[in-house]
């Protein structure tokens, strides 16, 4: 027991002391924080004001262009005058020229700029305003529809809200999909990454020939388990650091943008708006420019993070042991990097398979494919983590975890057997036939 602790601590410390461990520890939360912060920043950043001079030869668009926070439309009489201002004034970004045509309905418009490229949303704004005004003209002048009727049609906007009647909570299915996807990817990568570290660690010991010295002091099984546990602890340490750093980052973002979260919460509860008064209403309107962001934030606040973290830890530990032991067995068969592929492929294929099926699982998280994949121990860690944000019946989680608990010792036994024989076979090409023969009864 004391010796296995020595092995665990060496495996753990030698990895935690590496620079790459700390780089990964810092970079991953930064990336996550970036994913979270960038859309918020983009939605809220102050835009540079763009001024457009409109030269309308058709005379159809008098007062039709509505300026917004970002774009200011000013009417100019002639192309020459507008062009001069574009050249002389820095604040003028572009000139919109709508030439007159034989027919009443203009076909093309031109946006002139000089050197400084106008923002992409200017072009879409111009085209939208042009089209919408033309539509108004056609409907009102040609078909005789009144302004009120027209506004009514235009105001039609339907948003689909999802709600689970069982829990009475809003669905936020899109947010859950995103979280499920992220969780599935994370568990896939960490199992592969730390499992892979076990494999290379074992094969390094074999190729450097230190292994025989060590197994003359401890049993091969102790060495294998020491390595698997030590690297697993490295993984858990990495998570703990990731979670702590992410929390710090999240609190930081909240502190920097308090109005964002206030407003998001307010929108969830309509009565709060009244009590908060006009302030909250204004904030809400500001946020209407970025509905995706508020939806995301609302969705995030609606998700049970403690449950997700707890399930993640369970599935990481079990999924890791399930695969790391197999990877240890594979590592023991490898005498050089060249033949690693041959033996690691059967272990990685189930993981790859569940990656391919990820969209299908997300599309139908409670479907039979998803349910089965979240039972089979080879795929359950990834499949179950994708399903968790959508809510998983307790009995299904229990079956899935129980099956993993059953298979982990079995895998350990199989791997231990392969490991014991494999690590001391130097310079000999090991075949699958050899491996099967190790499991034959004498």
């Amino acid at each position: 027991m004391r010796k296995i602790l020595l092995i665990i601590s060496r495996e753990y410390l030698s990895r935690v002391k590496k620079k790459s461990f700390w780089i990964l520890t810092i970079v991953v939360p930064l990336l996550l924080a970036g994913l979270y912060a960038v859309p918020i920043y983009l939605a809220l950043r102050p835009h540079e004001k763009t001024t457009v001079l409109v030269v309308d030869d058709t005379k159809l668009f008098d007062g039709a262009f509505k300026s917004s926070k970002e774009i200011s439309y000013q009417y100019a009489g002639s192309v020459d005058y507008a062009q001069r201002r574009l050249e002389e004034e820095d604040s003028v970004t572009a000139v919109l020229y709508i030439p007159a045509r034989e027919t009443t309905i203009p076909g093309d418009a031109f946006l002139y700029y000089k050197g400084k490229v106008p923002p992409a949303d200017l072009q879409s704004d111009v085209s939208e305003q042009l089209q919408s005004h033309i539509r108004t003209i056609i409907l009102q002048d040609v078909h005789g529809i009144t302004q009120e009727e027209f506004d009514q049609v235009n105001a039609t906007k339907i948003k689909v809200h999802t709600k689970d009647l069982e829990t009475g909570k809003d669905g936020f299915l899109e947010v859950k999909m995103a979280i499920g996807l992220v969780l599935g990817l994370i568990i896939f990568f960490v199992v592969l990454m730390f499992g892979g570290q076990v494999m290379t660690g074992v094969s390094e010991e074999k190729t450097s020939r230190i292994v025989e010295v060590i197994v003359s002091s401890v049993k091969p099984f102790q060495l294998m388990m020491g390595k698997v546990i030590g690297i697993g602890l490295v993984g858990l340490t990495q998570f703990a650091l990731w979670i702590i750093l992410s929390m710090v980052g999240l609190v930081g973002i909240q502190a920097a943008n308090p109005e964002l979260f206030e407003a998001a919460k307010a929108r969830q509860n309509m009565t709060e708006i009244a009590t908060k008064g006009t302030d909250a209403v204004e904030q809400m309107q500001a946020l209407n420019d970025a509905p995706v962001v508020t939806e995301l934030i609302q969705g995030l606040t609606a998700i049970n993070f403690p449950l997700i973290i707890a399930m993640f830890l369970i599935y990481f530990v079990l999924g890791y042991f399930f695969y790391a032991t197999l990877f240890a067995g594979v590592g023991a068969l490898v005498d050089s990097d060249t033949n690693a592929q041959q033996f690691s492929l059967p272990v990685t294929i189930p993981l790859m398979l569940v990656m391919i099926m990820m969209p299908a699982i997300i599309n139908e998280p409670t479907g039979s494919l998803s349910t089965w994949l979240s039972f089979i121990p080879f795929t359950s860690p990834v499949a179950m983590m994708i399903r968790i944000p959508f809510g998983v019946p307790a009995w299904q989680a229990a079956v899935s975890i129980a099956l993993l608990l059953l298979f982990v010792p079995l895998n350990t036994w199989i791997a231990g057997r392969i490991y014991k024989r494999g690590i001391l076979l130097y310079g000999k090409k090991i075949t699958y036939r050899d491996i099967f023969s190790w499991f034959k009864k004498k």
């Binding site: 030698s14 450097s208 020939r209 230190i210 025989e212 010295v213 003359s216 049993k219």
Partner: protein, 300 residues
């Protein structure tokens, strides 16, 4: 110290060891000899409890061997290495502690050994920065550090440069004198003659010859003698019929030859045949080398 009793080990249909027995006496240097693939390494791994025998027992220090005995064994395998990325001192500490030494004891002994072998400046260097010869010194230290009662060296001199090999030999003899029992496994016969007290010769998984080196060489004696004799210029030396002369050389009145005697004759007969013909300056029995014995034993 160590008794190997009727040990058999098979891999499928292949016998790695077949009913092997041997006895290693306390304080002796024991040579485990045999060609590559004879089963030496398998036997050594069984003694180290890395492998388990299918049949037979190993008795260590009077009791059937158990896992805790590894702390009284120092083993330098034929295929040996170190963690490349680890620092020398850290690594030696780790290996020492795996052998059951406490932190402080391991540190104390390591510093002694590092000074003794003049490698104490390497403590904080990574193994990959060391030359192969340097790594071998570190490996040797970690093998003997826990003062094991039994030292096992599998092909110890393969890969060692001559300087290190000499140093190793010297240190091994010193440890033997201090009471350690040593097992050498090698296919290089000449290296054992001078230092081994006893041997066991393994070929094709079986012991073909075992016992005390001197006794074995005596029992394989061929009644062969090396002679040197001075004689006057006008006569040459002639030996009675039945005496077979090999490698004779007669120059400037000095006759040098190896003589194979008939089984009925003794060295005294050779001497009395020579004495009337000249002045005998040397007469020495030639005992067969272990290599000759090995080849003869294997070909039987």
């Amino acid at each position: 110290m160590l008794q190997v009793e009727h040990v058999t080990k098979t891999y499928g249909d292949f016998y790695a060891l077949r009913d092997v027995s041997a006895e290693v006496t306390t304080g002796h240097i024991f040579g485990l000899l045999g060609p590559n693939g004879a089963g030496k390494s398998t036997l050594i791994r069984i003694v180290n409890q890395i492998l388990q025998a299918d049949e037979g027992t190993i008795v260590f220090d009077g009791h059937p061997i158990r896992q805790s005995d590894v702390e009284n064994i120092g083993y330098l395998p034929e295929e040996r290495g170190l963690y490349k990325k680890m620092k020398v001192g850290e690594q030696a500490m780790y290996l020492a502690r795996l052998k059951g030494l406490s932190q402080s004891e391991a540190e104390k002994r390591l510093h002694w050994w590092f000074r003794h072998l003049e490698i104490d400046t390497w403590w904080n260097r990574k193994v990959e920065e060391l030359s192969k010869g340097m790594q071998q010194k570190v490996q040797f230290v970690t093998t003997v550090l826990h003062n094991p009662k039994l030292l096992i060296f599998d092909e110890p001199f393969s890969g060692f440069d001559p300087v290190n090999a000499t140093l190793l030999k010297k240190e091994i003899l010193r440890l033997r004198d201090e009471g350690a029992t040593v097992i050498f496994s090698t296919h290089n016969m000449s290296s054992v003659e001078e230092i081994c007290d006893d041997i066991a010769l393994i070929n094709h998984a079986e012991v073909v010859l075992s016992g005390n080196v001197k006794e074995i060489r005596q029992s394989y004696r061929k009644n062969l003698y090396h002679i040197e004799a001075r004689h006057s210029d006008d006569n040459s030396i002639a030996l009675p019929s039945g005496f077979e002369v090999k490698n004779a050389n007669d120059e400037k009145g000095l006759y040098v030859a190896d003589v194979s005697l008939p089984s009925s004759a003794s060295s005294n007969d050779l001497l009395s045949a020579l004495m009337p013909q000249g002045q005998v300056t040397a007469l020495q029995e030639i005992l067969p080398s272990m290599n000759d014995i090995f080849i003869e034993a294997v070909s039987q």
